[in-house]
């Protein structure tokens, strides 16, 4: 259920590493980048958290063995600089970079890697388990770790689980782990979390011992807004440097702002209309939905173009079929397999199935003579849910299907969805990079027959033919063949399942262009810049008006080794883009209003906030003055007393 919220939830190889300490020394004012978002963390503890915001924190704090390229998610070096396959693809030996250190100065060795993989497997850590379930890690020497899978695993050699510091985690027992606050700040990525004020913001500071590139930004502040409009306004005023997840209706106004760039990035997230398939007879769904013609009639009644124009405001794209991966190339061409808007066809299918409006009230009757009315559940936690419901119920009524709507929050909806106590709802998923997890959710295994072992299959649709294909792709080590199997699964799913994918949802993000540059989309061109799979953008950013070379001079002593690595290991992706970003810098900087990067955002809104301050002060003086006058008069009256 939670995985729906995963968003960027890719157990990703972060590009970076690092903790607090020096860099701020020389400067009076640390260079701070502030990012606004609409959601707080649930927990910064990797064994507990499950929301998008903490994945960004982990991506920045915990480097992974292998990382993912910014443009296409291909596997690139992370903590490991190289790896060797053996044993027919079952075993990989990874060699770590030289001189790796945790931000507190402790050496980062193969022991940390093996410890994390083995312990998370034994204790079934929530975010690690699907990757490490069949793995076993053995330390060969300080810089070499050997990982063996007990079954063929097409995901290898990608090893994108967050590596935690053994010296911090070893003393924490399994029982205490769940309540561990995880504010230790020990990091192997470019930043480390130092402070979290629940409901307000959290702060990450630069890790000076990080092996990758130093971007010149000393602190990242993530500020939680409860109101998207307020966040947009804060961005325009320069209170924040970037904003994540605002309303589509704000896009137009942001695009008109010359200092702001809007990105509607796709990373596989989609919104679907789910009908209750009642697999195995669970729940109390409307039996009419068992009839595939009725389902197709419902699909044909819905105009996804209108939803795209009116609800998504033309951002993202129209849904075609299940999108199993953050990488869009996994979706096959469906040909004519998509359900076009065709109310006539819809009516024809319903009549053919025996659903006819015999009493003329506009609502068809089922073959049993009952009015054909479906229950529609509206999510309370999405602002788009109500308009989507508005349209879908309207279209269904137009073809003679009645609807009853109820509102539920995500917790309630999750409960009724796995219990099969609904007829339809619209909700969304965000897939990982590897398609396996998303595909697994619609197998019979994931139907919740026992409430204590809830599965992910919220459509309660499953089919042995689909399960068969699923098992085939799971152990297929040939990437080309695997793609073919997955394509076949998706075509089958599209025709037979109870899901209609409505929209590919963009992550709406915007950033100011006057303070930082080098923003990076993942995947290239279509993806978002923040809260992405492996968060490569941070390492490619530069402060406008500063010389990147100067920053690297800052890093002295033990970090020289890390500097070397930057030159070699990073060449693949982030390094490249960062380089091009840098060259563009001087030109941009001329246009930028703030010559000195450190207080650029301050300049942008000084005029406004001063006016506000003045007005505020005047108001306070008036109020206090009035009160003082009142009190003074009273005192006067005391003097009056005879």
């Amino acid at each position: 259920m939670l995985r729906r919220l995963f968003g960027a939830g890719v157990i990703a190889g972060v590009v970076l590493v690092g903790v607090s300490a020096p860099s701020a020394v020389a400067q009076d004012d640390p260079v701070t980048m502030t990012i606004g978002l609409m959601q707080d963390m649930s927990s910064p503890n990797v064994t507990v958290g499950y929301l998008v915001p903490e994945f960004e924190v982990w991506n920045l704090q915990y480097a992974t063995l292998t990382s993912k390229a910014a443009d296409d998610f291909s596997t690139i070096p992370g903590l490991a600089e190289s790896w060797v396959e053996s044993n027919g693809g079952l075993t990989y030996a990874y060699t770590l970079r030289e001189g790796l250190l945790w931000s507190d100065g402790t050496p980062l060795t193969a022991d940390d890697i093996a410890y994390t993989i083995n312990r998370s497997r034994d204790e079934e850590w929530y975010n690690h388990f699907s990757t490490v379930e069949n793995l076993d890690a053995v330390v060969i020497d300080d810089r070499t770790v050997e990982i063996t899978s007990s079954v063929p695993d097409p995901k290898l050699p990608t090893m994108d689980v967050y590596i935690v510091p053994k010296h911090i985690y070893e003393p924490i027992s399994f029982d205490d782990l769940e309540s561990y606050e995880a504010l230790d700040g020990v990091s192997s990525g470019p930043y480390s979390l130092t402070e979290w004020r629940s409901g307000q913001d959290w702060t990450m500071v630069k890790n000076p011992l990080y092996f990758g590139r130093d971007n010149g930004i000393d602190r990242l502040v993530f500020r939680v807004f409860s109101n998207a409009d307020a966040m947009v306004a804060a961005l325009q005023r320069g209170e924040i440097d970037a904003a994540h997840n605002f309303n589509a209706s704000s896009v137009e106004q942001l695009e008109n702002d010359s200092n702001i760039t809007v990105v509607a990035g796709l990373q596989g997230g989609f919104t679907e209309l789910a009908l209750n398939g009642m697999a195995g007879g669970i729940g109390d769904g409307n039996p009419a939905l068992q009839n595939i013609d009725v389902r197709h009639a419902i699909f044909h009644a819905i105009d996804r173009n209108v939803l795209f124009d009116r609800v998504a405001l033309g951002l993202g794209s129209i849904g075609t079929t299940l999108s199993p991966s953050a990488d869009p190339t996994w979706i096959p061409d469906l040909g004519d397999g998509a359900f076009a808007y065709d109310p006539a066809r819809s009516a024809e299918l319903l009549e053919g199935a025996g659903y006819i409006d015999s009493d003329g009230d506009g609502i068809r009757e089922t073959p049993d003579g009952e009015p054909f009315v479906l229950r529609y559940i509206i999510r309370s936690e999405s602002t788009d849910a109500a308009p989507i419901a508005e349209f879908i119920t309207g279209w269904l009524e137009a073809v003679g299907i009645g609807t009853e709507t109820t509102v539920m929050d995500d917790t309630q909806l999750y409960d009724v969805s796995v219990a099969g106590e609904y007829d339809m709802f619209a909700w969304g998923w965000t897939p990982y990079v590897d398609p396996d997890p998303m595909l697994s959710y619609f197998t019979c295994d994931q139907v919740t027959y026992d409430a204590d072992e809830a599965g992910y299959n919220d459509a309660n649709w499953c089919d042995p033919a689909y399960d068969e294909l699923y098992l085939q792709q799971k152990v297929e080590l040939d990437p080309v063949k695997r793609r073919e199997i997955v394509a076949e699964m998706l075509r089958f799913f599209n025709t037979n399942s109870t899901y209609l994918v409505l929209l590919q949802d963009p992550d709406l993000q915007a950033y100011r262009t006057d303070r930082f540059e080098g923003w990076l989309q993942q995947p290239a061109e279509t993806g978002p810049v923040l809260f992405t799979n492996s968060s490569p953008t941070y390492e490619s950013l530069t402060v406008i008006g500063t010389e990147p070379t100067l920053i690297s001079e800052d890093t002295t002593e033990g970090t020289t080794a890390a500097g070397d690595d930057t030159a070699t290991g990073d060449t693949a992706a982030p390094g490249d883009t960062a380089a091009t970003g840098d060259t563009a810098a001087p030109g941009d900087a001329v246009i930028a209003p703030a010559p000195d990067g450190t207080d650029g955002s301050g300049d942008a809104d000084d005029g406004g906030s001063n006016t506000g301050l003045i007005v505020g002060i005047i108001a306070a003086v008036l109020v206090l003055g009035g009160g003082g006058f009142f009190l003074a008069k009273r005192r006067g009256s005391v003097d009056d007393r005879e």
Binding site: N227, A228, D229, V232, A233, F246, N247, S249, S250, E252, Q253, V306, R310, V311, I378, S380, T383, A386, P387, A389, E390, F391, G394, W395, A398, T405, T406, V407, D409
Partner: protein
Amino acid sequence: MSDVVKTQTTTFSPRSFRWQRRRAATVDFWSRFRGDRLALFGLAVLLTFIVMAIGAPWISPKEGLSAVDSIDNPTWATPRFDYPFGTDNLGRSVAAQFVWGSRVSLWVGLSATVLTIAIGSAVGVTAGFFGRWTDATLMRLTDWFLVIPFLPLAIVLASVLDRSLRNVVLVIAITSWPGTARLVRAQVLTVKQRLFVDRARALGASRFHVIRRHILPNVAPLILANVTLAVPISILTETTLAFLGLGDPKRPSWGKTLEEAFNAGAISRNAWWYYLPAGAGIVIVVLAFTLVGRAVEEILDPRLREGGL
């Protein structure tokens, strides 16, 4: 008709006497009420809104509320001839939402108030009349409910129950009856002191009879005054609940319009036509009820007859 009345008057039955007295009281009430120009103005405003609420289907076709039927409309249109209050993010007419919203807001305001007053009066009369441990128990309960923070409790209840108008009415009544109960009990206690109650009891009248014939008629004016003053609170509560997303998703109340406007980003694009009418509607109706309510209270509540506002 007038004949009948006349004959009955001559026989002077207690029943006709009662009727006559009531009619006289009504005439008296109206002549006093008419003297208050502000209250008259408030009443006129209220009547206008009530006519609008009842006549909504003729004033503004229901299709105007439907996103599917508004597909061809422009979105975020500023007010103009065919859309007097502009359109929203889905192209729906804001004016249609305003007209239909008045229905829900007035209906919830009135029915929640009636339920509130009914519960409060029942508790207040029972406690005041029976006294002793009944009184002690009920008043303790009332005090307890008075202490529980009103809005948080309403929000918790509303989020637990299904989102429907009936439940919104229920939530408002459950959270706001204690005030009325206290007020009514105090009035019952003073009425009970009066001679005629003792006399009726001495003559062997049943408790029920005494409550119905002697207590209720004397407490009724106060209850009525309380009704007019409680409606604004009910309307404001409904609005707040709807704004927090706890209203009925299918009924376009003013609070829901404000919620949708806020969520759709009307503030940041400064689409004033979207969020101003619904808010203004609430202010006007609440103000009108307050004006009428104050006048009614002044006329009916003996304590306010002299002095007054």
